[in-house]
């Protein structure tokens, strides 16, 4: 062991390629491949929103996961960045000053600047404290800015917001940005840039220091750093990337409304990041993709989608605090471990149990929703006719739930025995 050298301490270049370069190559490949499948307009619409939310959720995780600061007002930076970008879109249209030549394609940079600037101003007083104080300040600031948005109509445009037209200014890469598949390249490009940028940030001294400050602010001070300064700088970057996402949204929707600054998107980004897993870099990406999908599509299938969202969130908080990414990586670890058999057995039993419980729950919720609405609508999955007066409904629900609980129970009892 004595002849370990400096180089041996760092990961080998093969490792580096596998862990760092390869994921980005795969991501790029996927992004390029998607349009070849001839996706529908809906697909594009959802995909664009996912792209925006991925960047937004990652930027949120810069402060929550990496910085340990729980914010209830991150949408403020998304919104302010986005608003600035919409205004810039207007200036491009009017050809105000030099703006006439500015490519709409690069508006996310304007968004970044706007978000970072807002972060620099608001972060100054609020990052002096961490913990609950910070959380509460963020809540107060978010409410303040949201309320102010209705007072300054020239910037925020009141209830109906500010809109713009993206088909002006200099064209880049031959993209007019009119049709939706043009916009796809715009979103894909900036999502890639955002992910890459934020990933790179974790690899900088400041990024690492942010984690150290989260874990032990006092110690950081005694090795010569100012934790307030660390938090402040990280906050500015998080604001900037949130603004970048805002800029993407500005081009995609061509409109920004004060709602974008409210507590609702701030709460949603928190849920996205947390459900995905704040301890992992990819966590928020997974969370953003799943939750965007739920938000846009689940609400078509069921009125109770918020109920499912709430339940998903609670289940994650209670049983999988490391989020989806934690589940995935936990599975991979278990799969690679020595007694793969035992692991898989318990894992699949839990999965089956969870699945049965889910079925029971869905039946209960869907039947209740229809019963409650009273329009005489009936839940009819797979051609079954489940009304609340039908005993089959309740038998199905009970059997599934009880069986599910029993299975999970046994799976976890086994686990303890194995320990």
């Amino acid at each position: 062991m004595t002849d370990t050298t400096v180089q041996d301490l760092a990961p080998s270049s093969a490792q580096k390629f596998r862990q760092r370069t390869l994921p980005f190559l795969i991501l790029a490949a996927i992004l390029v491949a998607i349009p070849m499948t001839g996706p529908s307009r809906t697909f594009y619409t959802i995909a664009h929103q996912m792209g925006i939310n991925v960047v937004f959720a990652l930027s949120y995780n810069m402060i929550l996961g990496k910085g340990g600061l729980l914010s209830f007002g991150h949408a403020v930076y998304f919104g302010l960045g986005g608003y600035l970008a919409v205004h810039a879109m207007g200036w491009i249209e009017e050809e105000a000053g030099l703006w006439g030549a500015f490519p709409v394609f690069f508006l996310p940079i304007v968004g970044f600047a706007g978000g970072a600037l807002a972060g620099a101003i608001i972060g100054w007083p609020s990052t002096r404290k961490a913990g609950t104080t910070f959380a509460m300040i963020s809540l107060g600031v978010a409410e303040l800015i949201f309320a102010a948005a209705f007072m300054f109509d020239s910037f925020f445009g009141g209830e109906q917001g500010i809109s713009g037209d993206r088909m002006n200014g200099t064209q880049m890469f031959g993209l007019s940005l009119g049709p939706i598949d043009d916009v796809y390249w715009f979103i894909a490009f900036w999502m890639f840039v955002g992910i890459l940028g934020m990933w790179a940030f974790t690899r900088t001294p400041l990024g690492r220091l942010s984690e150290a400050t989260r874990d032990n602010a006092q110690r950081v001070q005694f090795i010569g750093y100012n934790p307030q300064k660390v938090r402040y700088l990280v906050f500015i970057f998080a604001g900037g990337f949130a603004g970048l996402a805002g800029g993407m949204a500005a081009v995609n929707y061509e409109i920004f409304t004060p709602d974008a600054l409210s507590l609702v998107p701030s709460g949603f980004v928190l849920i996205m990041a947390y459900v995905g897993g704040i301890a992992y870099f990819v966590g928020p990406i997974m969370g953003a993709i799943l939750l965007t999908y739920m938000q846009s599509m689940l609400s078509d299938f069921t009125e109770a989608w918020l109920l499912y969202l709430g339940m998903l969130f609670i289940v994650i908080v209670m049983f999988a605090p490391r989020g989806l990414a934690g589940i995935v990586f936990g599975f991979l670890d278990g799969f690679r471990s020595d007694d793969r058999g035992a692991f898989l057995k318990s894992w699949f039993t839990t999965l089956a149990g969870g699945f049965l419980m889910l079925i029971g729950l869905i039946i209960l919720v869907e039947v209740s929703v229809r019963w409650s609405n009273g329009y005489g609508e009936v839940y009819e999955p797979f051609g079954m006719h489940l009304s609340h007066t039908n005993p089959l409904t309740w038998i199905l629900f009970l059997v599934a739930t009880v069986a599910g609980i029993a299975l999970t129970y046994f799976a976890n009892r086994d686990k303890e025995g194995a320990a």
Binding site: M1, T4, T5, V6, L9, A10, A200, F201, R203, T204, P205, L206, G207, R208, L209, E211, A212, D215, N216, Q218, R219, V220, Q221, F222, I223, G224, Y225, N226, K229, V230, L233, F237
Partner: protein, 257 residues
């Protein structure tokens, strides 16, 4: 006359009505190894807290290389070349050992807050990190998360982080607390090499360690320095024996039996 590495003058600290540190005067030469001993609650840790900037003195002055540092924020004091360890391990448990040390090294290299370079790209940072790990005997554990280190190694890491920033005045608060004999011996060895050429101030209850390491010893009792002398003289000092060491020295196990 050269300036002292550290010089305390009429230092006082009270918490409300309680006077914890009373008129402490202490000058420590460059390169000296100075030990502070005293009964529990005498104010040793408090003194460290005053010097390192965690507490602000009620009155008096603290000079580091002749420069006043009393009341400065800890990170500014650190920039001026003073670094400390903690009585309870205070490390970054979610990071690997190497990253723990690197945090300290980066600051010394002036790259603390930089966000435009890759952390792994600077050869100098890497080699300096390696050097410190080696000095503290942690090289083969470099890739382990700090939380998985055995206790003694956590203490070693605590020291490694403390010296990583390249400070020339090092304050160690009970670095060997909770260690077994063999571990203590190793730790003393480590401290000796790690602080080579630096000014060291150490608080310890283990007299073996103190008498082994220190050039001079100060005895702090109820916030006052009652004696400050070489180890031999301190051992013989009646006041010290009464206040701290106890009437008899602790009997060795061998003698007991």
């Amino acid at each position: 006359m050269s300036t002292y590495a550290l010089s305390l003058k009429d230092l006082n600290k009270s918490f409300g009505p309680a006077k914890i540190i009373t008129d402490v005067n202490l000058d420590i030469e460059k390169g000296e190894r100075h030990a502070i001993i005293g009964p529990n609650g005498a104010g040793k840790s408090t003194l460290f807290n005053l010097i390192s900037g965690l507490y602000t003195p009620t009155s008096g002055s603290v000079k580091l290389h002749g420069e006043e540092i009393a009341g400065m924020a800890p990170h500014l004091i650190n920039h001026r070349g003073l670094s400390r360890s903690f009585q309870v391990s205070n490390i970054f448990i979610n990071m690997t050992v190497r990253e723990n040390v690197r945090c300290g090294v980066l600051n010394a290299m002036g790259q603390g807050y930089s966000w435009w370079r890759n952390i792994g790209s600077n050869k100098e940072v890497q080699s300096r990190t390696y050097e410190i790990l080696e000095r503290c005997g942690l090289v083969d554990k470099a890739a382990l998360p700090a939380s998985l280190l055995p206790y003694a190694d956590q203490r070693a890491l605590e020291i490694a982080i403390t010296i990583a920033g390249g400070a020339d005045v090092i304050l160690l608060d009970e670095p060997t607390a909770g260690m077994s004999h063999s571990e203590t011996d190793r730790a003393v060895q480590l401290i000796r090499t790690a602080t080579e050429g630096k000014t060291l101030i150490i608080v310890e209850h283990d007299m073996g360690v103190i008498f082994d390491l220190a050039d001079r010893i100060s005895v702090l009792v109820y916030g006052e320095i009652i004696a400050c002398d070489t180890p031999e003289n301190i051992r013989g000092d009646a006041k010290v024996r009464e206040a701290y060491l106890g009437d008899e020295e602790e009997p060795d196990v061998k003698e007991m039996v």
